[in-house]
């Protein structure tokens, strides 16, 4: 067999405001690091090829596919996952609350990825129209909701902001 070694490296990064350092295989994805090393299982894996968006997290404030990011590439950076939006027992983040209010989820598997994408969308430096919302959300797949309620949830957040 060609590759007879597995190399490891120590990766240090901040996740949801907490510092972490761990020895991981070089080929470990950020998604698997979050889910398995840190037991933050809110980030879900739908395809592991960067298309479905269920694994989306924020890396230094920018959305990325954690399945197409090596844990090693996140060295020294700051990651936000769905678990970072609200603490147990505390009120939900406005995006989470809007998703529930508008029935923007059914099975919920794609939802963490959508919520992270929406966080970034709300900070877009351009005017956010309904069409832009639809375009930006096109990077996340949902099979249950048909998207309409997700779009409505996001539009409601924009109205609240103005």
């Amino acid at each position: 067999m060609k590759n007879s070694f597995r190399s490891h490296r120590t990766v240090s990064l901040t996740v949801n405001g907490n510092d972490h350092s761990a020895l991981v295989a070089s080929n470990r994805t950020l998604a698997d690091f979050l889910r398995e090393n840190l037991e933050l299982t809110g980030t879900n894996l739908g395809c592991e090829q960067g298309v479905c968006g269920a694994c989306t997290v924020l890396l230094d404030g920018r959305s990325v596919r954690s399945c197409l990011t090596l844990a090693a590439q996140a060295e020294g950076q700051s990651v936000t996952t769905i678990e970072g939006l609200s603490k147990q027992g505390e009120p939900l983040h406005p995006v989470q609350e809007a998703f529930s209010r508008f029935h923007a989820l059914q099975c919920g598997y794609c939802t963490p990825g959508f919520i992270i994408a929406v966080l970034e969308l709300l900070d877009e430096p351009v005017p956010i129209t309904r069409d832009l919302v639809r375009e930006r959300l096109s990077g996340n797949l949902c099979r249950c909701t048909g998207y309409q309620n997700i779009i409505s949830a996001v539009m409601s957040l924009l109205e609240n902001e103005t």
Partner: protein, 294 residues
Amino acid sequence: MKFPPFDYAAPSTIEEAVELLNSRSIESKILAGGQSLLPLLAFRLARPDLLIDLQAIPALSEYRRTDEGFQVGAMTRHRTLELDLELANACPMLAEALSVLGHVAIRNAGTVGGSLAHADPAAEWPVLSMVLDAKMEIAGPKTLRTVNADAFFSGWFETAIGDDEILVRTTFNLPPPGHGSAFEEVARRHGDFAISGVAAVIETDGLTITNARIGLAGAAPIPIRVPEAERCLVGKTLAGNQLELVGEAARDAGDPSPDAHATVEYKRHLAQVLTKRAVSRAFARSISQSGSQQ
């Protein structure tokens, strides 16, 4: 699938990166944004022994506008250019191309250099580099050489970058203000790989076209220009059946391959349709720009 095993290095200089690429008798691959490479690893279609991550080399992330256009270090993310609104105004073709390049999450991680080195003929940056007369700077163990875009792409996912070399910077030339540009693409869904794409840059003097550059994505194993179409336009205005001739030249250009979503005939048909659209819009933008120049 899970990635096959590999080693990982994150050098902090270009020299170190080149040395790593060459110093071991194993297979190494350059890791830029990873948005093209990592899916290959996910399907176990590539099994490098070592990934050399360029993200820790500051020089490679430099991006600047110049008098002639702009320069991008190989690690400049697509999103960095997308957020340069001045560039978008100066060259709408770029904004249009970037808006359909994957999705924001892909553009945050993916890089211009990575996209050029990956050399998917249906991708946006390869065809943009052809119509913007890009020059690629390639670093090897003892050399730093420059290759023009029209010599850079050599075949399906193949470039002039040698096994011991790294693409470090690309310089793009924008025509002087007063030009018009447009990008057209057909994909099954927004952000998907293009079935066919066209980039057009038109310069005019009054209503007369002084320069035309038309590039096709997805029409051949490499991105191509359409000199027959360009010749149709230079020295003329866009009237009569000029646009038809341009479209026909684009339809007949290249050597498209069929795939799951498209027959050869359909790809040729799209090249014709999209070239006409791109040229019309680029021309309209150019003459309105020239108008505002006067």
